[in-house]
Structures are given as C-alpha cells and as structure tokens.
C-alpha cells in the first residue's frame, strides 16, 4: 500500500493535468494488449501525466504520448501523485 495515497483509481477517471503513478494493470486487459502496454513502458510505479480524457485517454509516459481507449484505461489502476494545478 502506498504511504501517501491508499486509493487506487482507474486511469480513465483521472482529471487531465494530474500526475499519477501506475499501480497495476487489471486482469481484464487482454494478455496481448497487456504485453503491448508493457512494451510502451507502462510498468508498475511508472510516473504518468494525464493530458486529456476525451475523446480518448492521452497520457505522457516519460517523453512518449500514448492514446488509450477508455475500455483499456478504466482497467489501468493508478495512484495520484500531484493533483492538477
């Protein structure tokens, strides 16, 4: 459990501008797509910045922008690092 924040939230629910840390990839994600996400660098504890949520979830992981459909983003669990500001 994170010392700072206990709640794990779906990535699809996070307000744009928020810094988050990836907690887990949900079991609902297709194994092949999970491998694809891992290949893009979405591993546990990786810091992410949410850029937008519509029409798709767009995140910045390191310096790479990724667009994820909500069907995937709602099964990616994150912990909030810094609220939007």
């Amino acid at each position: 459990m994170s010392p700072k924040h206990e709640a794990r939230l779906p990535l699809a629910f996070i307000t744009p501008g928020t810094e988050v840390r990836l907690a887990a990839l949900g079991d609902e994600i297709d194994p092949l797509q999970r491998e694809q996400l891992t290949a893009y660098g979405l591993a546990e504890n990786r810091p992410l910045r949410v850029l937008q949520q519509k029409p798709m979830t767009v995140i910045l992981a390191d310096e790479v922008e990724l667009a994820l459909e909500h069907a995937v983003a709602r099964h990616i669990w994150v912990e909030i690092e810094t609220p939007p500001g």
């Binding site: 297709d30 194994p31 092949l32 797509q33 999970r34 491998e35 694809q36 996400l37 891992t38 290949a39 893009y40 660098g41 591993a43 990786r46 850029l51 937008q52 519509k54 029409p55 798709m56 767009v58 390191d62 310096e63 790479v64 922008e65 990724l66 667009a67 994820l68 459909e69 069907a71 995937v72």
Partner: protein, 648 residues
C-alpha cells in the same frame, strides 16, 4: 535440414517503430525506402549495399513494439534475425525514451551477436530536457553507443566508424533464479536438438519461453521430429511458473532497463510544454480536433482538387497536349507511317499516344503529383497517427479501431500499398474487414484526383454527394462485415509521435520516389489497357460489349451507352476507367457524372491491388471479395441514379 544462411556481412537495423530506422537506412545506403512520421511504415525487410563498405549489406527491418514477436511485422524482423548471417546488429533507439529502448536491448543482448546502439533523435530529447550519458551507457553495455539525428545526418559518420568496434553486449540482467533454471534447461535442449549457427541458444530459449512464434517455427523446422521435446519443455516451464511466464520475463527485462536508464539519464525541469506538444494536443482535442480535421481536408481539396485537377490538368491537357503535342505527333505519324492501322494504333481514338499517354501524363500525373506532395506533408508532420484518435469512435461502429484509419488514408494514395500496410492491424479479422473496405470504397490518388477534377467541374454539391455516399457505403459495408465475421473488436492503444515541421527536401524526395513508382506501374498498364481497347474496337467486340451493356449502363445506371467502354477499362484499373468517364464529361449531366463516379469508385481496384489482396488473404477470399464488389457497385450506382433523380 536446411541450416544454410545467406552470405555473411549482413548488418541489421533493428528497433522500435518510428525511431528513424528507414531514414538511417537511406543515409547509409542511398537507397530510398518510404519514410514517415508514424509507426508501421516499414512492413517488410528491405536490403541494399552500404555506401561505406561495398561488401556489406544493410537490412531495414520493420519496427518491433516488443520481442518476443507477436505481430506480422515483428515476426518479419525476428525471421530476419534467424535467417541472416549477421555481421552485427545496429539497434536504433529513441533517445528521449531510453527505458523502452533498453527493454529491447535487454533481449537483443542475449542473442550473442555484436551490436551497436544508435540513440537517434537526440535533438528532440535535448529539447525536452533529457540528456543521456552516452559514455556511461556504452561502458555499462560494453558496446559502442552513438547519439544521432538521422534526418539531419548528425552522428552518421561516427556510427559507420563504430561498426568495426561492434561487440557482443553484456547481459543487462540475470533473471529470477527459478527462471534462470528454465532458461538454462531450454538453452541446453536447443543446443542439443537445433543449434543455431549464429544466435546464442540462451537468447533463443528466452524468446521461445516468451512465446515467440517465429522462433518456434524455426525450431520446428530445425529439430524436426525432436520438436515435441522442446515444446513439452516449454509447456512444463509455464506450468511450473506462478503466473504468466512471458509476462514475468518481460517484467524483469523492463525493471532492468528502468534501473539502467535511471542511472544514465538526467532530466531538466521544464516549465511549459513545447509548442509541438501543445499543437499535438490541439489536434486530438475534443473540441478543436474535428474543426482542424475539416480545415486540413479543405486545404488538401484546394491543393489537389482545384490546383492539381483543374489548373494543372487544364494547362497540361488542353494547352499542351490537345493544342500542341497531339496535333504535332499526329501530323508526324501520318507523315511517316503509311499503314492506317498502325497510325490509328498510335494516334487514333484508342491510340497509345492520344489515349494511353495523354491519360497518364496530362490527366493523372498532375493530380497524383499534388496528392503525393500533400500526403507527404501530412505524413511527416505527425498528423496521421492523431487521426487514429479522432477516427476511433467512428471506426468502432464498423468493428474496427482508429488504427484502421492509417491503411484507409494510405489507400487514398495507393490501395495496393495500403493493402500491404494492413499488417499493422492486430487481428486477422481487422485485416480482412479493412482490405475489403479498401477494395470497395477507397479511391486511390489517381482516381480521387479524377473524381475531384470531374465532379469539381460540375459543382461542389456533386463532390459532396459523392463523398457522403462513399462514407455511408464504407460505414454500412463495414458494419455488415463486422457483424458477419466472427471475433471481437480490439480497443485502441497507440503511440502519438511528436508533431514535426516537415522538411521540404524530404517531402520532395518522397514525392519523387512515389511518382517514379507511379510512372513505372501506371504507364505500361495504361498502354496495355489502350491496346486492349483498340483491339476490342477493331475486332468489333467493343461495340458488341457496349450494346450488351446498354440495359445495365443506360437502363439501370442512366448513363450514355458509350460509358460501357469506361467500365471495360475499369477492369484493368479503376482510375483508367474513371479517366475514360472524365474524357466524356462534357456529354454527361450532373447526375450522370455523380452516378458514374460512385459506380466506378466502388468497382474492383486495379490489377496490382487484386494481386496484393490474393497475396495477403489468399485467392479464395480475394476472389470472393471481387465477386461481392462488382455486382454491389452496379447495384448501388443504380440506386443512386433513382435516388438522385427523385431529389435533385
């Protein structure tokens, strides 16, 4: 058993998609390959002799999102690694995304082949405040590491100089002790049953345990009757593991890559995003995305449909060919050739010059030139992958995700190439639906230009009716196809490469390369088509076909009976047929023009596309598609004839 490899001295460019492998390939060989700012441009291995060492052959491999290989393009790269007698690998990585680069390095390093790592686009990394300690990374990996900017030629000399110092890399990690036991057992079995002459058994063992299908195929071929032993070993390893073995192995590689990347990267804090990042976000913005798309389409229409298809075609077709070249050439032929059939073959109604070359050079060339230029600008800007985000919801209606927009948009350039590019799609179902829709409702650049030129001359409404009809048919056909084909839709996950200002020289080079391909493919086919039309006319078959087609062409489609000739031409190439209609545009009413173009757009694609469909989907599926498309084209054309007469 075939264990022979191609001659030594192969240097393989390997890396993630869209990291600049093809630009580097062009820099190192001088050979042109299509290069774009989106993942998946290269779907097949390309090879050429290098400039710096004439004995060496450089191979440009499709980008791999990850290894072990899963997709067709990843399998193509893995197959090249297995079958080429590599002198060394050049891993091309994105300097601003070192973690991902090193995740792939962690696996390539286990193959036991000398390597060099080119950290490309380090200018973009620097602009984002990312600095990589190249010397420290080189020391950790035990191989030369170079910072390059392939588009600007920076670091290329150092890269070629470093190839002689390529070394087998040091391993980035030792896996968990239990996994190491499985890997060692598998490596020993591979060494015993199917040793690879070049690649290390340990690397092959990690790939095989990770579920790499290309490695599995290779082992099957090499181990023959002993393959079941390897397969059993793999299955047993999976069963002994608490969790999914391929995922766990990949996770350990990622952790090792993270740790190494963290030790050699420095990040400066940036106060605000770059202009290119802000622009990239506006393009996929929920409010601004669609207006920007409409503005882009309008600019492309003005450039291709108005400037290319009206102004340039007018200059070339009327002012140059009709008023100067054709009369001069006709006079010359009549003066020097006394055989009437031969002069008619050259400059008659269906003459090789007056029809074949005039269509290809005066009508189509200016249109495809402007289209290829506009398309090149869009490709290099990074706009196209962002289209996948905007189009995703629309494509979900037809059982696809937004990724399918890439082959569709490429199809507006060339349906043949786009059919090959469907390999970037993840499932056979997505590929089949997309190939069908490409064959049915996506006009290639030549045909698109003719449509815009002809219908643009009628009215903007005519263009709009045609475009909306195509969109409706595309969505309806896709919807039906997705319901008929079993399987489920895969949600979209995609990388959005940075927006970049296109470099004029690169766009012109790319336009030139595509025009060369176009002229080589189209002119012989146009001449062959003209010759067939001439032969049909002389043998009396064409008038008979026109008479026979009258009930369909005149009765059902409402076109003049002479339009049958355009459909005969359309069997060879849709754009050839469309050009035939364009040539008789003055005698068509607005409704006839729209109906004719809708029918010909839906008609079977060109011969080259048909061959590509057969290559990608097999003859049975491809011919089945054609059997649906041809009657469907006439059926829909007739429906629009009735509908437009009722409302227009």
């Amino acid at each position: 058993m075939n264990t022979s490899l191609s001659p030594a001295n192969a240097i393989l460019l390997v890396g993630h998609p869209n990291v600049g492998k093809s630009v580097l390939f062009h820099r190192l060989t001088g050979a042109y390959v299509n290069v774009s700012n989106y993942p998946g441009t290269t779907v097949e291995v390309t090879r050429a002799n290098t400039r710096f060492d004439h004995a060496a052959v450089l191979l440009d491999t499709p980008g791999v999102l990850a290894l072990p290989s899963r997709s067709d393009d990843e399998r193509a790269t893995m197959t090249a690694l297995l079958h080429e007698n590599s002198r060394c690998l050049v891993q091309v990585g994105d300097a601003k995304n070192l973690r991902r680069t090193l995740t792939l390095t962690a696996l390539l390093a286990e193959l036991g082949v000398p390597m060099v790592l080119a950290l490309n686009m380090h200018d973009e990394a620097a602009a984002r405040g990312v600095t990589v300690d190249v010397a420290a990374l080189s020391e950790e990996l035990g191989i030369p590491v170079l910072a390059t900017v392939a588009t600007g030629g920076e670091g290329i000399g150092e890269l070629t100089g470093s190839l002689v110092n390529a070394r087998k890399p040091q391993a980035l990690l030792r896996y968990d002790a239990d996994f190491e036991k499985e890997i060692a057992a598998m490596a020993a079995a591979i060494n015993r049953l199917a040793p690879h002459p070049k690649l290390a058994a340990r690397g092959l063992a990690i790939l095989f345990l990770g579920g790499d299908s290309a490695v599995a195929d290779w082992l099957k071929e090499m181990a023959v009757e002993n393959y079941p032993e390897l397969e059993t070993l793999c299955q047993a390893a999976g069963q002994r593991t608490d969790g999914d073995l391929p995922t766990l192995l990949a996770r350990e590689r990622t952790e090792a890559a993270d740790a190494l990347a963290a030790s050699v990267i420095q990040r400066a804090v940036r106060s605000s995003p770059l202009l290119s990042q802000r622009l990239g976000q506006y393009v996929v913005h929920p409010v601004w995305g669609v207006p920007i798309l409409l503005a882009v389409l309008y600019v492309v229409y003005q450039f291709v449909g108005v400037f290319g298809a009206t102004v340039l075609v007018g200059l070339l077709e009327k002012d140059l060919f009709q008023d100067i070249l054709n009369p001069a050439f006709t006079n010359l032929v009549n003066a020097v050739i006394s055989l009437p059939w031969l002069s008619e073959l050259l400059v008659g109604q269906y003459g090789l010059w007056t029809m074949g070359m005039t269509y290809a050079l005066a009508l189509i060339l200016p249109i495809v030139t402007t289209f290829f230029f506009a398309f090149g600008v869009l490709e290099d800007s990074g706009y196209l992958p962002r289209l996948t985000v905007i189009a995703n919801r629309l494509f979900s209606l037809i059982g696809l995700n937004g990724r399918a927009v890439l082959p569709m948009v490429l199809g507006l350039g060339c349906v043949t190439m786009a059919t090959l590019t469907t390999r970037i799609l993840h499932s056979p179902r997505e590929r089949m639906i997309t190939i069908f829709l490409l064959a049915l409702a996506i006009p290639c650049s030549a045909q698109l230009g003719v449509v815009l030129g002809m219908l643009g001359g009628v009215s903007f409404t005519a263009v709009l009716v045609w475009a909306l009809a195509m969109l409706a048919i595309l969505l309806l056909s896709g919807f039906l196809a997705s319901k008929l084909l079993p399987g489920r839709r895969i949600p979209l996950v995609t990388e959005l490469p940075p927006m970049r200002l296109p470099i004029l020289g690169n766009v012109l080079k790319k336009t030139g390369g595509r025009l060369k391909w176009y002229l080589l493919e189209v002119i012989p086919l146009f001449l062959l088509g003209t010759f067939i039309m001439y032969s049909l006319d002389k043998s009396g078959a064409l008038p008979a076909i026109i008479e026979a087609g009258e009930p369909l062409v005149s009765g059902w489609l409402g076109l003049p009976k002479e339009a049958s000739a355009a459909f005969v031409m359309g069997f060879l190439r849709r754009d050839f047929g469309a050009t035939g209609l364009f040539a008789m545009a003055h005698s068509l009413s607005p409704i006839q023009a729209v109906v004719g173009m809708i029918t010909l757009t839906l008609f079977i694609p060109c011969f080259a596309s048909l061959m590509m469909m057969i290559k990608e989907q097999g003859a049975k599926v491809a011919l089945g598609m054609v059997a649906v498309i041809v009657p469907f084209a006439f059926f829909v054309g007739g429906l629009f004839n009735l509908l437009l007469h009722a409302v227009w």
